[in-house]
Every structure is written in structure tokens, then in C-alpha cells.
């Protein structure tokens, strides 16, 4: 095979052919991966839900409520959970922009009376080794089975009851704020959630 000459036609044709082939193969792979991609995303959400909620038998992802809140651009997601048609709790996505490096997004699971069942961290960009310790069991444990109505979510430095992470007070403060926001939404919507299924 001899090297193709640098004529205009040759250049256009060869680039055109390569682009066509790559375009088609990418489209093909995209079609193949479309379903697994959506599934992976859903799975992540369902796993977080299973972690923070008491056992449930409905599909919270389908029953999701989107609630418009004034000072937040995106709507708050509320996932209600039912066990044999009885309201057993709800998971609410809480977020704040006040983390050390911006956005912190968590999912908080509440029992019907407002007690925290569990918390899962969904998104964060905090400093590795300091702020990221908010995912650790030791930090999360202090929120479990507490009712924010009586439990002050501020860090001890600000007169609250949360032990801040070493070297990451700002992260801890923001985390408490996100939990508070989720709780406020829960209280606001608790009534309608119970009624929803019955």
C-alpha cells in the first residue's frame, strides 16, 4: 500500500470517512449503555433510600414529591415510604452551599414523628481527610435517633449539640444546616404525606 497523496479530495474523503465511522460507532455504544447508565443512577438512589429509611414496601422513587421552596433554585425532593400502606417515614434531600468547598448534598431519613433514622451523604467536595470524615460512622452516629425538634443541630461551638469534626468546623456547621433544612421540610409536609396513601 502506498501513502495517499495530499490532494484536496483525498483529505476531505479520508476525514469524512473517519468521522462517519466514529459517529456511528459512538451512537451505537451510546444506545447500548443508555439503559445501564439510567439503572446505575437509579440504583444509587435506591441504595441511599434503603440506607436511611425504615423497611418499606412501596417504591419511594415513584412516589416522590417535588416541593418548590422560595430561596432554593431547585425543588426539594421528598421520598415517602410506606409499609403495608402505613406511613413509616420519609427521606428528604437536604443541601447547602455553605460547605468549605461549596455544595453539600445529603439524604436524611425521618420516622413519622420526626426522629432521624439515618443520614447518607450524596454529594460533597470537602477537603479529603478532614471534611470528608462527615461520611464516617462516628460523626453520623450522633444524629441517629435524635429528633431535631429537641436536638440542637448547631455545633457545640455555636451552642448546639453536634460535636464538630476536628479541623472541619465549617463542614460540620454546613452539615447541621442541611439536616435542619431537611427537617423543616419534613415538618411542613408531614401531614400531607400521611394523608397521601390513605
Amino acid at each position: 500500500m502506498s501513502k495517499k497523496k495530499d490532494t484536496f479530495i483525498n483529505m476531505v474523503v479520508s476525514l469524512f470517512v473517519i468521522t462517519i465511522i466514529s459517529g456511528f460507532s459512538l451512537g451505537f455504544v451510546n444506545d447500548l449503555t443508555l439503559e445501564p447508565k439510567a439503572k446505575a443512577k437509579l440504583e444509587k438512589k435506591v441504595n441511599a433510600l434503603k440506607l436511611v429509611l425504615p423497611t418499606f414496601d412501596n417504591n419511594p422513587v415513584e412516589d416522590v414529591l417535588l416541593i418548590q421552596v422560595e430561596n432554593i433554585k431547585v425543588s426539594v425532593e421528598v421520598y415517602p415510604a410506606y409499609q403495608s400502606n402505613e406511613f413509616v417515614g420519609a427521606a428528604i434531600i437536604g443541601s447547602t452551599e455553605k460547605g468549605f468547598s461549596g455544595l453539600i448534598k445529603i439524604m436524611v431519613g425521618f420516622k413519622p414523628d420526626g426522629t432521624i433514622q439515618n443520614i447518607a451523604v450524596l454529594e460533597q467536595k470537602e477537603t479529603p481527610g478532614l471534611g470528608t470524615k462527615m461520611k464516617d460512622e462516628k460523626f453520623l452516629a450522633q444524629f441517629r435517633d435524635k429528633n431535631p425538634a429537641s436536638y440542637n443541630l448547631k455545633v457545640t461551638k455555636d451552642g448546639g449539640e453536634v460535636d464538630a469534626l476536628t479541623g472541619a468546623t465549617i463542614t460540620s456547621r454546613a452539615f447541621g444546616e442541611a439536616v435542619q433544612m431537611a427537617f423543616d421540610e419534613f415538618v411542613k409536609n408531614n401531614g400531607s404525606l400521611i394523608r397521601l396513601k390513605n
Partner: protein, 191 residues
């Protein structure tokens, strides 16, 4: 206010080179003299701004409406490569002095990951608009320039320093970059 935060964040807090690790190749490669690093920074400012504008429009008005979001990487790199060529040709004709100053750096920019990186990051800005994306690109290229020029000035001094044999060349440069990055780490939490 938003814009001031973007500027400070891009230049100091999340400096594109020292904390995001984009554009390391030119950062290590063309930083042995302050004058060349100034030229490179100018070229990056120029290309990054135009490229981000072009890719943002392409993404917003062609790729997303057509549902071809997955072709992002391939279209962006082609747009950037074509733009660099075009800028080179236009500069040569329109402004020979500017071409003299920036010309040699232009071909290197195609493979500068900072340009592609910023073009992609600009899509993810909150409440994004074209103006914001362009402003983001300008801020980041200022951050790139700052890091590059400071690093080059340090390297010029290093030539006179007495360095242990094993550390000469690459290792000492990396170490200096590390210390510089450590200094920039002091800006975290500013915004």
C-alpha cells in the same frame, strides 16, 4: 457578586493549575523564562476565551437540542483544534506583531488540557449563561497566567541555586510547584 466570587475562586482558591491540575504540561514545559511564560499566558487567555464561547454555544444550541450530548468530548476537541488553526492564520494576516509574540505557542495549546477542561467545566456552572461561561474562562486563564508567571520567576532564580545532584531538573521543579500549591492552599475557604 456572583462574578466576583467566580473570579476569586478561579484565580486563587481553585487555581486551575495548582489545585485542579489542568494545564500541567505547559506549566512545566514553558516556564523556564518569564518572557516565554508571559507569551504563553497571553495565548491561553486568547484561545481559552474564544474556545469556551464557541463550545458553550455549540453545546447549548446544537448538541443538547439534538440529544447528542454524548458527542461532547469529540466535538469540543475538534472545535478547539480548528479554532487554534484559525486563530493562527487570522493573526498572521491581521496582526503580525501579535502573531510574533504568540505564534509559537499556539500549536501547543491544542493539547493543553486546561482549554478543554475549562470548556467542559463551564457547562456545569450554576445558573449558567454565555456571559458567565466566558467570564469563567477569562478568570481561569488569569489564574493560569498567574501560576505560570510566578513559577517561571522562581525557576529563573533556581538556576543560580546550589541543588543536590539527584534533585536537579524535574524533581526540584515539581517540589517548587508543590510548595507554590501549598501557598495557594492558604486561600481555601475564602469564598
Amino acid at each position: 457578586m456572583d462574578y466576583i466570587i467566580i473570579l476569586i475562586a478561579a484565580v486563587f482558591v481553585n487555581n486551575i493549575v495548582l489545585s485542579q491540575f489542568l494545564g500541567i504540561c505547559p506549566f512545566l514545559g514553558v516556564s523556564n523564562k518569564v518572557s516565554t511564560s508571559v507569551g504563553m499566558s497571553g495565548a491561553v487567555l486568547f484561545v481559552m476565551t474564544i474556545a469556551t464561547m464557541a463550545t458553550y454555544l455549540l453545546h447549548e444550541f446544537i448538541l443538547v437540542p439534538a440529544g447528542l450530548d454524548y458527542l461532547r468530548t469529540i466535538t469540543f476537541i475538534l472545535v478547539i483544534a480548528a479554532l487554534v488553526q484559525m486563530v493562527e492564520i487570522i493573526l498572521k494576516k491581521v496582526s503580525p506583531p501579535l502573531y510574533q509574540a504568540l505564534g509559537v505557542f499556539l500549536p501547543l495549546i491544542t493539547t493543553n488540557c486546561a482549554v478543554l477542561g475549562v470548556a467542559i467545566l463551564a457547562l456545569g456552572l450554576e445558573g449558567g449563561s454565555l456571559l458567565k461561561a466566558v467570564f469563567f474562562a477569562v478568570s481561569n486563564s488569569i489564574g493560569f497566567g498567574l501560576a505560570l508567571i510566578v513559577f517561571a520567576s522562581i525557576r529563573e532564580h533556581l538556576e543560580l541555586a546550589n541543588i543536590p545532584n539527584g534533585m536537579k531538573g524535574v524533581p526540584i521543579n515539581l517540589l517548587v510547584a508543590g510548595l507554590l500549591s501549598l501557598a495557594f492552599l492558604g486561600f481555601t475557604g475564602l469564598v
